[in-house]
Symmetry: C2
Subunit: 428 residues, 2 copies
């Protein structure tokens, strides 16, 4: 059995999970999967990480280049993240004829084509299951078991931080700032929570999933994104009263006019499979023309889960190396679908307005909605006092462009203090 040599670049939490799996299960991989994996070199800017790795000092590097330059190394695992050094590492490794396994969602969602082209040019594998949904197998199923389908929809709860926060707001009535502080204290959210709460992390992940599901490259910049900062627990309560859960969904639909892709807080019926996915869990819901509805659920983050996906890819690539079968499934973006403008979206809208409590306010707002062809399904005025009134509208299906135009006019009314929240309502 040929030994497959691995170079690991980036020894953070996922890297530590990878070394742990290798240490515990390398024997199993030989007997059960027929691959002999050997960790040959590691690199990290922080020397302190090397103590956790059972390698001599001359195989632990603070520079990544010696890993790429070692001709013996077959597979490079890139766990640096981001699109700076990580991009250089991945491209250099591929150009050196090494297969690459990465968890890097930002890289794959921005430079996916470039990376895929370098892999194809050298006939090696690039695998990135860990870039979406932590340990949940989703890229594998989309590229293999579900390939016979025309996938019509992929939507997911792909950010555990925000799902934890929304779950706490929904179940315990806590406000945004409290749950953010709690998520930070528990290590679920970073000190700068922007990537999570503003939906950027989710946008990268849905760009990757849509590219695979629809066989057409979508990049992160194609994804209109709204985060959860403006949500209040009262929005979640109103939604609950109406039979909906509020989730930060990453949504991609194949439509006749192109790929409809977006990330935003979304009201979904409480009996939808995604509505019951709570806490830090992730889930990706996929609809195909033959398979119908499917959903993939699991831990979306954490050292073990992400390392499970990385090592699953490593074993797969090592099998290909051992049997001289690299490059079986490369880039699958063979079509060129346009990305639809979000102004062309048609869905329901929940709108919470803060207005002064004056006669004629309801009439003014209704007139504006009507003028833009936006039909109102329900109105709730929850309170009115000296500070003003809070009014919640839910529209029938309307176009995003029309709703946005109406809201711009409503916001300009003297009586409007603020548009509190706008949540799209998907009656899935």
């Amino acid at each position: 059995m040929r030994t497959v040599h691995i170079g690991l670049i980036g020894l953070g939490t996922v890297g530590a999970g990878v070394t742990q799996i290798l240490a515990q299960h390398a024997g199993h991989f030989r007997t059960r999967a027929g691959v002999d994996l050997k960790l040959s070199r590691v690199a990290d800017r922080n020397e302190a990480c090397f103590s956790a790795v059972d390698l001599p000092a001359d195989r632990c590097h603070t520079d990544w280049r010696p890993v790429i330059e070692d001709p013996e190394i077959d597979i490079v695992i890139e766990l640096i993240g981001g699109t700076g050094v990580a991009r250089d590492v991945v491209i250099a490794a591929l150009d050196a004829g090494k297969s690459v396994v990465t968890a890097n969602k930002a890289l794959m969602a921005t430079a996916g084509k470039e990376v895929m082209d370098h892999a194809a040019a050298r006939g090696v594998d690039i695998a990135f299951e860990a870039s979406v949904g932590g340990g949940i197998p989703i890229i594998g199923p989309l590229k293999h078991s579900l390939t016979s389908n025309e996938i019509t929809s992929v939507m997911g709860i792909v950010n555990g931080t925000t799902n934890y926060m929304l779950t706490r707001m929904a179940q315990d009535g806590l406000d945004y700032d409290t749950v953010l502080a709690e998520a930070q204290a528990k290590g679920y959210a970073e000190a700068d929570p922007t990537a999570d709460v503003d939906g950027l992390d989710a946008a990268a992940k849905i760009a990757i999933l849509a590219s695979i599901a629809f066989n057409s490259r979508v990049v992160m910049d194609d994804v209109p994104v709204e985060g959860i900062r403006s949500l209040t627990s009262s929005d979640i309560d109103y939604a609950s009263d109406m039979g909906y859960a509020v989730k930060l969904l990453a949504i991609a639909n194949r439509t006749d006019s192109g790929v409809d892709i977006r990330v935003h807080p979304t009201m979904i019926p409480v009996d939808h499979p995604l509505a019951g996915v709570n806490g830090v869990y992730n889930a990706i819901y996929v609809v195909g023309d033959a398979v119908g509805e499917t959903m993939f659920f699991g831990e979306g983050a954490g050292s073990g889960a992400a390392a499970s996906a990385v090592m699953g890819d490593v074993i797969e690539v090592a099998r290909h190396i051992s049997q001289d079968c690299l490059g079986i499934v490369g880039c699958t973006c063979t079509d060129e679908l346009p990305v639809r403008d979000i102004a062309d979206l048609t869905t329901g809208y929940y709108v919470r307005l803060l207005v002064s409590d004056e006669p004629g306010v309801l009439a003014s707002v209704a007139t504006i909605f009507g003028h833009h062809g936006v039909s109102i399904a329900s109105v709730i005025q929850k309170y009115a006092d000296e500070t003003g009134a809070e009014i919640v509208y839910v529209t029938h299906e309307a176009s995003e462009g029309a709703v946005r135009a109406a809201l711009a006019e409503i916001e300009a009314l003297d009586v409007t203090s603020a548009i509190g929240a706008v949540i799209r309502v998907e009656d899935l």
Copy 2:
């Protein structure tokens, strides 16, 4: 691009789904997956099926042998089912050097080793994703994305018929006979519902999943099985009052003393991911040492779903043929774990007794449980009238052997009219 020729044996509902996918998407498979698939021959005992296939009459056969004997055919799809003719077809096809894709759970759960050995001897692929969970990708993820894990548990709702029946009993309070008749009228249950309601279908599926998850062959005869015939809607109501859902679960756990495997009605906490899987849907819940909890959800039956899985396998095998890479992942049963006796099981038990309403009954029953070391967590006496009394016991964790011995003694008491139901309680 080399054309991969397919022979399809069995033109029932799944076969019709397969021909439909091929007719609709063969062009996509060429451009997106790089495989050129051509349906070359079909066979079915019923000539009437041939009208649905776009093939000349001399390529439609009432005997399966001409399909196997055609040297041009690369992949044989076996959709006959069962272990009679289907076994001959699969073995003959493999021996003729053809790869085989099958949806046959009974064959893989009884003669899996034999089939795998024939495939290995000729260096061809045998793929059977459709044998478990309809269109849900589960065998693929277990053999690929999750390979780096030591899987500790696989449990699933893998029979849509019984899940539909239990859902109707739970949500609408209907009795067993009513929901069975309804399931038969809707085409979810067969005229002879034995394989579904007695748990045999689920037993075959969990044997297949356990074999893959634990790298150790488990056959259908290894699986102790209890069906849902004795359940009443009052059992489901009692369970609901106690915070549990009742599901027919197929369970396999890796334990220090071997593989714990069984199929039986099970009470699981209502907040467990499997508890919310209702109607004809299936779901398989998998726990791995690195990945943690995952779940795979979707349509467990139906022409389109099963055909999706079959064609996913066909595309995978065709890629291997096109790139001369057959046999990358063959049999993974490299270990030989013992299968644990169900008498060694330790879990909670729900026991519904029908007894005469006489003084001393509770004491007699309690004494017997106590004598066998079975500790009672709760007792509910729902009614008592001239026909007798119904008493529900829930035990603390106890051994199956002790509970069975106690129940044998309790059943022999003069005051006992019947043991209404025994449901294992899993506090997952």
